[in-house]
Symmetry: C2
Subunit: 211 residues, 2 copies
DNA sequence: CAATACATACCATACGGTCGGTATATGTCA
DNA sequence: TGACATATACCGACCGTATGGTATGTATTG
């Protein structure tokens, strides 16, 4: 871990440690309830480092949403649900994958940007928009597979790939809300079963046994 | 507006004005970002009144969730979607009704308890549980119609009425998250169209044209 | 007279943010 | 090569304010 240089200004250890702390703490406590001191303590840096890297707490929120977008898009790009040759199978594999990664404690699998957007959409448009870019950027990656599947299977319904991709996100986000309200990850998984069934219905695919 | 009496202690004007203020402000700013002073100012009462009626800010959060449960259950009980004789039609009318009431600005139609649960599920179990009771108490009112519809239409799928009722809530809550992230109510309505289509699929009903 | 339903003044602290300082790395020019 | 200027990354003390909460007083009601 060398010291940061002028060529690689992102190399500053404090910045990413703060972003990782933000990812973990904000998912558990929410943005407003997370203090700058909380973040500094968790990242083992001082306030000076915080305000050197981020001009304000709001700026940290925006950066955290962007950091989330980067890391999750890498995570999903490397995930195995892209393997099937058939586009529809990839879409169904995506849903199964989203279900499979719901494991452990709630703050570990819930969505940072969904939580933040819900909380600050009115008071901090910058954070809200950064969260929106993360969410809708992700739906865009699904949209291509859905559209391909739709064409390959000759499906002509009163819906668009874009809309179904967004609905998929809505189901996932809504599942998280219920899981938190009911304090049980099962509630998030449950809705993904319905989503799976819905997509199979849309594509006239017979339902598989669910595990 | 008489003074509260010992026979009707709920008659205190400050209490309900504070609860109404909480309902409106927390939906816009979130629970943590809403200060006690904010609420007192909006309700035109003093801090003394606040802490007389609620022992703490957390207690106000619990009371606000319970207030929400009461008012919304009254609202939905009086709604016209209960009119159809056929249970399935009532379920579909419910979805249509949920779509219809998505109007105006975001804080006016989004769900207080969904927002609060998402925010405080970890730091304030009391509020979280009160939110959970509100949400799952509402799904229970749908469950009966779904179960009746299922029996009347002789549907035997790999799902339960309870689960579909919860899924309905998940779609609604998720729609709110996307609507906030994208700053557009249309995103909440969109998912309800998918939900409508899903339910019709489950009950083998031909799709109607959507407005 | 006792209980309720407030009002007002006050308090300790936690909060976001600022500021002056220091250590290290890099470019450059004699 | 080395001295110097400059920029970056970070430290830690400090500040003004906002926050949740309290203590005391008072008008009204049964």
């Amino acid at each position: 871990m060398s010291r940061p240089t002028i060529q690689s200004p992102e190399r500053g250890g404090a910045r990413i440690r703060l972003l990782e702390a933000a990812r973990d703490i904000i998912r558990a406590k929410g943005f407003a309830a997370t203090s700058v001191d909380d973040l500094c303590k968790a990242a083992a840096v001082t306030k000076g480092a915080f305000f050197h890297n981020f001009g304000s707490k709001d700026a940290l929120g925006v950066a955290a949403a962007e950091f989330w977008a980067e890391t999750t898009s890498g995570f999903f790009a490397a995930a195995p649900y892209h393997d099937p040759a058939d586009a529809l199978e990839r879409v169904l594999a995506y849903v199964a994958f989203r279900k499979a990664i719901i494991a452990g404690d709630l703050p570990e699998f819930t969505c940072l940007v969904g939580t933040m957007a819900q909380e600050v959409y009115s008071s901090s448009p910058d954070i809200r928009d950064a969260c929106g870019r993360s969410i809708f950027g992700h739906t865009a990656t699904l949209e291509a597979d859905i559209e391909t599947a739709r064409r390959d299977h000759g499906i002509t319904g009163n819906w668009t790939a874009e809309s179904l991709a967004r609905h998929t996100q809505a189901v996932i986000q809504g599942g998280f809300v219920l899981a938190k309200a009911g304090n049980s990850p099962d509630l998030a998984r449950e809705s993904l079963d319905h989503l799976d069934r819905y997509i199979r219905h849309l594509f006239h695919v017979t339902e598989e046994d669910e595990t």
